[in-house]
Amino acid sequence: MLAATVIVFREVLEAALLIGIVAAATRTVPGRNRWLAAGMLAGLAGAGAVALGTARIAELAGGIGQELFNAAVLGIAVAMLAWHNLWMSSHGAALAADARSVGSAISGGRRECSVLLVVVGLAVLREGAETVLFLYGIAASEGGASLPMLAGGLAGIAAGVAVGYLLYAGLLRIPLRWLFAATGVLVLFLAAGMASQAARFLIQADVVPSLAAPLWDTSTLLPQTSIAGTLLHSLVGYEAQPAGMQILFYLVALVAIGSGMLWVQRNGVPSARREAAS
């Protein structure tokens, strides 16, 4: 039972942390609860569909369909998180200054919400599909469903959601002025970690070279399966035995998104400047 809890917890944690962070980041965006809920529902439906289609997807592209699918989902998520961070960088000050009224007036607020929907949906889809497969495996195993194992799986979901909620609640205690800076940094590292994971799938598909695999090995020092390792993996993309190409993807995402955020903060985006003038 405990094994099932741990496996499901590991899968759910990443999505839960991401949702906790973006929910905190968009706390003053009007209507964000509906968009978040819609994203989660769409993600769950997608997870079911992906789980059902596992064999089909795997056969695509000459047997590397699963790798390309995962890399594409991660790639889109990175792009969406980048957009989210740039948007927050240009509007964060306005959102913090007058949280109640400004939100609806900000141009792109609606687009930001649809980005939110996609980000949340993809996170739930990716982690959810593996959870669905695992739970299906338990339910369909010979000798009938193993109830303790299923209960363990459900406990894992609850634990993952609880940690995501704790992070959300913790972030909400930060004053608005600092909240956006904090979530911006968190999202930046989430995105970089996802870029590194995308690289791992592209290496596995043999689309890109590994460039030294592994580049380093800290699996005895800080195993990725330990609690600290799992948390660090979910939050900042820690891997105990990463390939060189993963680190390259990680750094490129980190520098590109990070410098984009700084640039937007300093110069503003054209639409934001027009708004400020009017």
């Binding site: 094994a3 496996i7 596992t54 064999a55 795997a58 592209a61 000459g62 047997g63 590397i64 699963q66 790798e67 390309l68 890399a71 594409a72 790639g75 889109i76 792009a79 593996e130 497969l133 695992f134 299906y136 495996g137 369909a140 195993s141 010979e142 791992r200 592209l202 290496i203 596995q204 598909a205 043999d206 689309v207 890109v208 590994s210 695999a213 592994p214 699996s219 990725q224 399966t225 891997e239 105990a240 035995q241 990463p242 390939a243």
Partner: protein, 108 residues
């Protein structure tokens, strides 16, 4: 970037038949156990692991040491490209049945 990756993948597909099936090593999953549970692979070479899942339930082949993870649906076969590898021991497991589905790749 995604589009670029897909384009690259398509190019690779075109070239795939030439290099396919040169070095295939077979792993069979039955009753949530790998057979064999110790597989010897040559060092410094790209090889293909062919994982045949004879169980009705899905399994996730996972090896942090190899940097590989792939879901293998029930009653199906998946190919996983690995290497070139340095000599050493690379543990792997079926994540959905970690208690029994354990194995190690020994590279010489």
């Amino acid at each position: 970037m995604t589009r670029l990756a897909l384009a690259a993948a398509l190019c690779l597909l075109a070239a795939a038949p030439v290099q396919a099936a040169d070095d295939e090593f077979r792993l069979v999953l039955q009753d949530h156990r790998f057979q064999p549970d110790e597989l010897v692979l040559p060092a410094g070479k790209k090889v293909t692991l062919v994982v045949e899942n004879r169980d009705a339930t899905p399994e996730e082949f996972e090896s942090k040491a190899l940097g590989r993870e792939k879901v293998v649906a029930g009653k199906s076969t998946a190919k996983i490209l690995v290497g070139p590898l340095k000599p050493g021991r690379y543990p792997f497991a079926g994540e959905y049945n970690e208690k029994t589905a354990q194995g190690v790749i020994v590279v010489r």
